[in-house]
Every structure is written in C-alpha cells, then in structure tokens.
C-alpha cells in the first residue's frame, strides 16, 4: 500500500487520488461518524474494499453494519469523516430485504431489466450464472427467499459492477443453500475481478470465501483475515465464548495453503490487511500465526 491515509473531516465525496487510499482501492471510508436521532451508530469507522477482494462485515443486530454499507453506497451522509469512491465506480447492490408486493405484477425478467439492460441473451447468461436459468417468466412474488436473492444478485451483475455490496445475503436460506451461495459469491469475484462487501450476522460459514473480516460494534472491534479475527480476544468478547468458539471456517481446497507451521493462510498474502487503523492487534496476531 502506497502513501498513507490522509485524515480529513469532509462529508463530500472526494475526488482524491488513488495514492491516498491505496492502489486498487474501490471505496474507502475513513473516520466516519454517523448519528441517527442523537444516537451514535458509527463511531469513527474506517473500511477499504479493493479490486478482487471480499470484505465481510460481521456484528450483532444494531452494530451499524447496514449503516456502514449504506454509507459506502452513498445512501447515508455521514456527520463527519471521509467517503472516497473510485471515479465512476459502478456498484451492484443487493439489499437485505426485498419484500415483493403481490399488488405489483413483476416477472423476474422485467425485474432484471429495471436496471436498464434489455438484451435477452445477456439476461439468460446472467440467470445461468446465478444458477436460476428457468425463472425469467416467473412472478417474483412466487420466488422463495433464496431464489429471490439470486435474482437480485443477477440484477446487480447485469451492471458489470466493479463493486458488489451484499447485505445479509444468507438470511432465510438453509445451511446448504448458504454454502452454495458463498461459493457462488467467491466464483463471481474470481470471474469478474470485482470487489465484494458482504454483510452478515451469521457467524457460521461467514468466512468461507472472505479475504478480510471486519467485526463491527458501532466501532471497529477487530479486523483481519478470518483466522486472525477468530483468534482475536475482542471477537470473543463481542460474541461470547460459546458462539465465538463455534465459528467454523469452511474453506474450499483451492482457497488456502498451509504454512510450514501447519496454519491456514490465504493463497495471496499480498491481499492481507496491512494498513488500516485499529487493526494493529489483528495484524500482529496474523504475523504470529503465520510464522
């Protein structure tokens, strides 16, 4: 990472040079404060998502995960801090809940074209990619939670996004469906080389395809690779010993290698978190576990 993070108190989107936030960065949120009705929801939070990187936000309900994602998307204006987005950044967004209304007739294919693209061949390709080849003519009201989530993902992919923001994509989906969906997200990242910001309150399986985990409790508790975060005392304090220990890191074979000491490490170590404020404990732990 070149340069250093520049401390600024600016609410407006910056046209800052890439060197200020790191090469390959798609979005960078720095020192952001968000208040709702006098309640501090985000307290000096920072986050960077880079090209080809999957960043997972975890935290309990009310920990500010969705607010942080909405800040990244530009839907929430922070009280102070800095939000930087790569110029002309194309974002695909899959929100937490879409409750289709039966009063509004809407086929899956019409839903997909709401974003603007109309080429039927491309629609079919994208539906194939998310594993939903036969839903085009079905009403979205009749889709199951998992099917709808995949159709929403297809709409986001139609935009050829450089950044995907997925808010709780796993809620209402059974465990085998979750594993499949995480795998799909990993594949999409590999195929499109896009950055992914993933939100979850699920502790299980969260970290399967993740490069960096940010544990949020209105402030950043800890961050780093999944292995680092699971080992972090702050993580256990937040989720309690029982839950914290129950977290399973399911990695697929091609996703990791083993170090000489037998520890699990990602294939691409250069992608690891090295420059974010507040993560020093995590990074230090990573050094130990790797050596």
């Amino acid at each position: 990472m070149q340069g250093k993070l520049v401390a600024m108190t600016m609410v407006e989107e910056q046209e800052a040079g890439e060197e200020d936030v790191g090469v390959g960065a798609l979005v960078a949120v720095e020192d952001v404060v968000v208040d709702f009705a006098g309640d501090r929801v985000l307290d000096h939070v920072g986050l960077t998502v880079s090209v080809g990187e999957i960043v997972t936000l975890i935290g309990r309900n009310g920990s500010g995960k969705t607010t942080l994602a909405r800040t990244v998307l530009g839907l929430v204006k922070p009280k102070s801090g800095r939000v930087w987005r790569r110029r002309g950044l194309c974002i695909g967004y899959v929100p937490q809940a879409l409750a289709p209304d039966p009063i509004l007739p809407m086929t899956a294919s019409r839903f997909l074209t709401l974003g603007g693209t109309a080429d039927p061949e491309r629609l079919n390709d994208v539906l194939d990619e998310v594993g939903m080849p036969d839903v085009a003519d079905r009403q979205i009201v009749g889709l199951s939670g998992g099917e709808l989530r995949r159709v929403m993902l297809a709409r986001a992919l139609l935009r050829d996004p450089e950044l995907l923001v997925l808010d709780e994509p796993m809620s209402g989906i059974d465990v085998s469906g979750q594993v499949a969906l995480y795998k799909l997200i990993g594949e999409i990242r590999d195929r499109h080389r896009c950055g992914v910001l993933l939100i979850s309150h699920d502790l299980h399986l969260v970290m399967a395809e993740t490069d960096q985990v940010v544990c949020l409790d209105r402030h950043v508790c800890c961050r780093g690779t999944p292995e680092v975060v699971v080992a972090d005392p702050a993580f256990h304090t937040l989720f309690g010993p029982t839950l914290g220990d129950a977290v399973a890191i399911y990695r697929h074979e091609h996703d990791h290698r083993h170090t000489e000491a037998g520890a699990v490490a990602p294939l691409d170590e250069g992608r690891e978190d090295t420059g974010h404020p507040g993560s020093s404990a995590g990074v230090a732990a990573a050094e130990t576990s790797r050596s």
Binding site: M106, R110, L114, G115
Partner: protein, 262 residues
C-alpha cells in the same frame, strides 16, 4: 344522435383516464391513495385562492396540490404524527378551508356540487382542449418517467445505487398526480377523482403479468368506464361523474369474482 356535451365528456374522459389509469397503478403500488385523496381534497382551496388572485382555477389546484405534497413529505420526515393522521388532518382541513374561502367570494357564483362531483355540462370546447392538452403533456412526461419511477417503486435504494434521482422522480410524480387531479376534477369532481385512478388499476391487476400490462389494462378499464358511464348518464339521466365511477366499480367487482373462480 348524441348531444355535443356527451361527445365532449367522452373525449375529455378518455383523455383523463389515459394518464389517470397508469398514474393510478403507481398510486396503488406505492400505497398512496390517501395521499392522492388529500391532494384532491385541497383542490377546492386551490380554486378559491386562484379566484382571489385572479388566476386560472386549474393552475391554483396544481400549485396548492404540490405545496400539500411537499408539506406532507416534510412532516412525515419529522415523524411528529403517523402519516395517515397527518394526511387526514390536511385533507379535511383544506377541504373545509376551501369551502369557507369560497363563501367569502361574494361576487363569484360557485357550483360547489360541480367541483365536488364533476359537471360534464360545464366542459366547453376550450375546456376540452385544455384537458386533452394536459393529458397529452402529462402522458409524455410519464412515458419518460416510467422506468426510473417503477425502479424506485420496487426498491428505492437499488434504484438510487443504479443512478436514479429518487427524490426528483418522486417529486415529478407528485406534480403529475396534481395535474391529473386538476383536469379530472372537471369530469368526476374532487371527491371521486382518486377512484378513477385506483379502481381501474385494481381491476386490471388480476389479468396482468407485468407492470406495463397492468397499466394498459387499467387504461382499457378506465376507457370502458368513461364511455359506459357517460352513456348511462345520458340514457338514465344520472350524474355523469358518479356514473363513470359506478361502472368502473362494477368492472372491478366482476374482475374480483373472476379471480375467485379462477
């Protein structure tokens, strides 16, 4: 065969439903029928203020409806009262204020029943051209507004991330509603205009697989209601505005029964 006023009424009515029906679909989808009713209820006050200021009454209706819309949205944001309470207060207080204000206009004779329930006899050739002009104008704007408005209706945040200026689209939609209320007022009156927006849309729902199909179906239902209502009014000597709404309701009832048996 028919009197001129029936022809003018049918043409004007068709012009109104051509935009009122698709706009009505959005009113139904966005659950804004009470909001629409509030805009319509304020129309009398708009008429009164316009007459006091020597303006065209329809312009007064549109301007006041837009002001109402902005006030409702602003007060909703501050969450002082629940939206339905707020809308109820504004709807009925502006209706009462409007009637009181009209009473102060000593030298103007106002056909109150005509404003409340419509008066097809009052539509002259000039009025017809005005109604059709506004219908075509709002129709063209709605055509271009369609995709962003639909996207924002399905999910405002996705639309915003995809570059739709959601607030601006919502504002233009409200202005279109106000314009349709202003011209529809002539035909069916302020108390019934919202029914001309939502009943055809509701009747068309059962037969549509896409939003566009529902809008086209709503226009057809609205057109049949206008022609049927005007003819019924002519032959049965019933008030034309309410007759149109009764026909639309009958079509809705039939569609409802068909849905049950299907």
């Amino acid at each position: 065969m028919f009197e001129d006023f029936i022809i003018r009424g049918i043409l004007g009515g068709l012009g109104v439903v051509l935009v009122a029906a698709p706009l009505g679909c959005f009113v139904v989808w966005r659950r804004m029928s009470y909001f629409g009713a509030a805009l319509a209820h304020s129309a009398l006050l708009g008429v009164a203020l316009a007459l006091m200021l020597d303006m065209d009454p329809m312009l007064g209706v549109v301007v006041l409806a837009v002001v109402m819309a902005v006030v409702i949205v602003a007060m909703e944001e501050r969450r002082i009262l629940a939206a339905d309470t707020l809308i109820g207060i504004l709807a009925h207080s502006t209706l009462a204020l409007g009637i009181v204000a009209l009473a102060f206009l000593q030298n103007v004779r106002i056909d109150l029943m005509g404003y409340l329930f419509g008066d097809v006899l009052a539509i002259g050739n000039r009025d017809l051209l005005f109604v059709l002009g506004v219908a075509v104008g709002t129709g063209i704007i709605l055509w271009f507004l369609w995709r962003p408005l639909l996207s924002a209706t399905v999910h405002a945040d996705i639309a915003a991330v995809e570059g739709v200026p959601v607030m601006r689209v919502r504002l233009v939609f409200t202005v279109l509603m106000a314009a349709v209320i202003a011209v529809g007022m002539k035909l069916v009156g302020v108390l019934l205009i919202v029914s001309l927006m939502i009943i055809p849309a509701a009747a068309a729902r059962r037969f549509a697989a896409t939003p566009e199909a529902m809008a086209v179906g709503a226009v057809l239902v609205g057109a049949v209601s206008v022609v049927g209502g005007m003819l019924a009014s002519f032959y049965l000597d019933t008030p034309s505005g309410p007759s149109i709404v009764v026909v639309a309701t009958a079509i809705f009832a039939v569609s409802f029964v068909l849905r049950r048996s299907a």
